[in-house]
Symmetry: C2
Subunit: 274 residues, 2 copies
């Protein structure tokens, strides 16, 4: 999916919501546990209930890998279901991969050829040749970690070099020589709301993937205040806040209510940049 | 496997060789391609041929994931085969994972509980809470990326902060508050031979996992000159140089010859620290 198609989806649906499919078997409602593939059935119900309120889905690979081969089958079925039934939704594989060039090429083959997913989160620590193999695919995106939403983000990402440039700024600046606004986004945690001002100084036009709204405590309004741009430029993710809104058999309806509430807030923000 | 057991293996086998099982279906010899699981059969033959010359095996997950569910089955079979037939070999899952605490816990569950692997490579960019979930397992190890073997390692890892501390040094120094010499190693590329002096200043006693000998051009002698310590403290990895030594039906014998040659060089180095 290219940028224009993504932006069209955002404005037509009045939403820049991404639903995180971090499906933990320990949190799947009891009513599904006797099914053959409870993870997939949970995802399918969540997707059907929330698709009208969001433009993207982001399964985090950890939650599937931890189930071994069975989990990867659930992951593949989820991707296939999305592509067949909701082809206009942007799919993000949240895998935070990154390895030497030779190996990153293998990961690119997996996610962009084998699964035909729109985008992949990538860790920047290993530098240019760990990122560029993902940039050779038309219509596919790298979403590079810049400033993450967790406490540990302070350990290294905020370290300033001798010119005063912080590591996350250096990652954003340097990586702009590898990809552009049509094939690269950055992860910026919502828990760092006021930092969006600094991010927009180095990446004025890039799309940002924003985790941390909801369970992790970030504020949508603050993110938009500093981060939104003319064509929106934001995908705001909520995982636990939506998919575990209820632990009962009404989990899908509860998820829809949470997603709709976020979509309504987003419509207000989009209205401001009209 | 704890440190003492690993060191005992190294001195009894006179080897600190790790064989990288980066098994690419495109490079598996033709004679195996009609088998039901050529990846596993290739690994099995390589393992049987090299086990006496090495103390560790390191499958890189990318090479298995790129085959989808089928690849993960080959991975699981390889781990099972190793554990049943070579229980004294240290197993490293080269996965370079790292995510927010909640998610890193899921990865820890996968690799340390589901697969019962000895160690996992972890990327440090997301800081403390992305690493510590892996440290709660007795006898299991985190192998944290510090200074990698690729060209892109220069992009961020060498950046000095305002006190002159470079990022890889900061990663090593800070992470010593999270784990210790009994449960944490560092990845340091062999292509950066002379840097081992600097590494040993911040990590005098930690084990280092050293990729980049062979195909990537690093020198074993230079690594040992600056990096070896009293109980060895090194695991030197070779992947392509061993497993693809021949593309014919003699691939396993050719791999054994390469592994034995490296083991002999290692015995000489171990002799120096007696």
């Amino acid at each position: 999916m290219n940028r224009k198609q993504l932006v069209d989806q955002i404005f037509s649906k009045q939403s820049f919501l991404c639903v995180g499919l971090d499906t933990d078997i320990k949190k799947v409602p009891e009513c599904l546990l006797n099914n053959e593939d409870p993870i997939f059935d949970f995802n399918k119900a969540i997707i059907d209930a929330t698709a009208q309120y969001c433009v993207a889905y982001k399964p985090n690979l950890a939650f599937y890998e931890c189930m071994g081969v069975k989990g990867m089958i659930s992951f593949e079925r989820t991707i296939k279901y999305l592509k067949e039934n909701y082809p206009d939704h942007f799919i993000i594989a949240d895998a935070k991969r990154g390895d030497i060039g030779n190996t990153s090429s293998m990961y690119a083959r997996t996610f962009f050829e084998e699964y035909d997913i729109d985008s992949l989160t990538v860790a920047p620590y290993m530098g240019e040749d760990s990122v560029t193999p993902f940039l050779n695919y038309e219509g596919k995106w790298v979403i590079l970690l810049a400033l993450t939403s967790n406490k540990g983000s302070h350990d290294f990402q905020l370290t300033a070099d001798q010119d005063g440039e912080r590591l996350f700024e250096k990652v954003i600046r340097k990586s702009q020589a590898w990809g552009d606004e049509q094939n690269m986004m950055y992860v910026v945690g919502a828990t760092q709301g006021s930092m969006f001002q600094d991010i927009r100084k180095v990446a004025p036009n890039h799309f940002l993937l924003v985790p941390g709204v909801g369970a992790q405590g970030g504020s949508l309004q603050e993110v938009c205040k500093y981060g939104i741009i003319k064509d929106c430029g934001l995908l705001v993710n909520s995982s636990r806040g939506i998919i575990y809104a209820s632990s009962g058999s009404d989990f899908a309806e509860a998820a829809a209510i949470k997603a709709e509430a976020l979509q309504k807030e987003m419509a207000i923000e989009l209205n401001k940049i009209k």
